[in-house]
């Protein structure tokens, strides 16, 4: 049996949730004060995901960087490889909001998209 602790982020209470993962893969959560806490703990243990935001350099733009994000959540364990995949990416102006910067990041069905407009210099 594996034991984990997660902090609920649904409200400022920030309950400390104790999660037990049993040998048959079932999960029990204690320490929550509302149902949202239990759901959150299960998701955090079974399939934690995050939206990642970053910036990449722009050539010939009116500003040097364009901000980007994952078009949806990616698995938490892929955050590092996602950042590494973005390391050498450079784009050319103009860039519009929603432009795909990298397709299928880290083999997921999620794209890296621009969150800012960059005009040509």
């Amino acid at each position: 049996m594996e034991k984990r602790q997660v902090t609920c982020i649904n409200c400022p209470l920030g309950c400390t949730l104790d999660v037990e993962i049993h040998s048959d893969d079932s999960i029990s959560v204690t320490g929550f004060q509302c149902a949202r806490g239990e759901d959150y703990a299960k998701k955090e243990v079974l399939n934690p995901t995050r939206t990642i935001t970053s910036t990449v350099p722009v050539l010939n733009g009116d500003v040097p960087m364009v901000s980007v994000k994952t078009s949806g959540d990616i698995p938490k364990k892929s955050i590092k490889s996602c950042m590494l995949a973005l390391k050498d990416v450079v784009v050319e102006a103009p860039i519009y909001i929603g432009d795909i910067i990298v397709e299928h990041i880290c083999g997921t069905d999620i794209n890296i998209v621009a969150t800012k407009e960059v005009k040509k210099k």
Partner: protein, 419 residues
């Protein structure tokens, strides 16, 4: 001299929302003055997501949130001037501004909306001993270097203060390959949102050292390290707990201060607690026709509430221009036990729309306590709160008919209390 109905100072989230609201409520003679060379203010460097959940019911990044407003401002051809620094406002709403192309501009406004936002508390306000080496930045400055200019401020980083910008930067710099060694917070609790503690620190195993502060800065040319120490309940350092931490960069995330130099020049009275203007429920300052909204009024946690406040400020500014006379007395709103401040600090009953929103912050962490509102000595509102923290802005909503029910009320008092 230029004549304008409404002049808005600042084109950040408050200024843009105010301009849009003014236009949508019938004003057309609007001018926005912005000192930077772009619209959107600080949102442009806030590339993380979490903006707009209230306003647009979706999760946007800062630049995306700003663009929603900028596009409308452009579509409606609302006039704005960039690179324009306002240097003076008089109590008669005469504005002096300067820029490179127009030189000195003098504008007479019928109403002014202050939307200058806030700035970060600097190192100088903290009295940390040591030389003044390079490598010490406020968290927002570091955010600009990374997200706008594409520079990395350092490799080994200590962050002092656990405000949201500091937490966001801890994650951002980690993702860019820097080693964020720790976040020190002098208080026994963090001033940042829970979500940011978890997703910016815990996710990357960055230690949050509560009741710790930086007591010395080492290094002469470039910062080489800091001494940190534990503090007691009175926030005095506990001798023997000092620890040296090497680093090449120190970020400060130690609070935001509304930027009210211009307001003071106009003679607007400033609330010493918020460091923003005292306003009535029409968001009007102590000078008729000068309104304030957003972080220049009081520092917000969520941009959505800034936009909401700006919409209101513009509506009342239009009412002012139309010359609707008010002759009703104003009821003071007092922050009593456990409440740091309220916005507004007075209520004119004739200006109450369907309901009256009062925003406030508590002065400490409280569990299972009640928020109570008293009309004079009569308790009209009493609500249990599982948790109250100074880092999260709270609100109460008073229906208009309560004011009808208590026509003789002479003060409104808000307090944190037990049963």
């Amino acid at each position: 001299m230029i004549y304008k109905d409404i002049v808005i100072i600042g084109a950040g989230p408050a200024g843009l929302a105010a301009a849009l609201s003014a236009y949508e409520n019938g004003a057309t003679d609007i001018l926005i003055l912005e000192r930077e060379n772009y619209l959107g203010g600080i949102l442009n460097q806030c590339i993380h997501n979490g903006f707009g959940l209230h306003t647009f019911k979706e999760e946007l990044t800062g630049p995306e949130y700003a663009l929603r407003y900028i596009q409308k401002i452009e579509e409606l051809k609302i006039e704005y001037r960039l690179n324009t620094m306002v240097i003076d406002i008089s109590n008669t709403k005469k504005i002096i501004a300067i820029n490179e192309t127009d030189g000195v501009i003098i504008i007479q406004a019928k109403a002014v909306i202050l939307a200058m936002g806030c700035r970060e508390r600097p190192r100088g306000a903290l009295n940390i001993p040591g030389f003044r080496p390079s490598g010490i930045y406020s968290a927002g400055t570091a955010q600009k270097y990374v997200n706008i200019d594409g520079y990395l401020p350092g490799r080994n980083i200590v962050i002092l203060g656990s405000g949201d910008i500091g937490l966001i930067m801890a994650r951002r710099l980690t993702l860019e390959g820097s080693h964020v060694k720790m976040v020190c917070e002098i208080m026994p609790y963090s001033g940042g949102l829970k979500r940011n503690i978890v997703q910016c620190l815990d996710d990357y195993e960055i230690p949050l050292k509560l009741s710790h502060t930086v007591t010395k800065i080492h290094g002469k040319e470039r910062i080489e390290g800091v001494t940190i120490a534990k503090v007691d309940a009175a926030m005095k350092t506990i001798s023997g707990t000092e620890e040296y931490v090497s680093c090449d960069t120190l970020l400060l995330s130690v609070g935001l201060i509304p930027e009210n130099e211009l307001s003071r020049k106009a003679g607007v009275k400033i609330n010493p607690t918020t460091q923003g203007p005292f306003v009535s429920n029409s968001l009007e300052t102590t000078i008729p026709g000068i309104f304030a909204c957003g972080n220049v009024l009081h520092v917000h946690d969520l941009v959505d509430f800034v936009s909401e406040e700006a919409v209101l400020a513009a509506k009342y500014a239009i009412k002012h221009i139309k010359g609707i006379q008010k002759n009703e007395k104003s009821i003071p709103v007092y922050a009593r036990d456990g409440i740091r401040y309220t916005v507004p600090s007075s209520i004119e009953v004739c200006e109450v729309m369907k309901m009256q929103l009062i925003r406030f912050r508590v002065s400490n962490v409280y569990e299972n306590q009640y928020i109570s509102v008293y009309f004079d000595f009569e308790r009209v509102y009493h609500k249990l709160k599982r948790i109250l923290t100074p880092g999260e802005m709270e609100q109460v909503i008073l229906p208009k008919n309560w004011f009808d029910k208590y026509p003789a009320v002479s003060s409104i008092n808000i307090a944190v209390e037990g049963e």
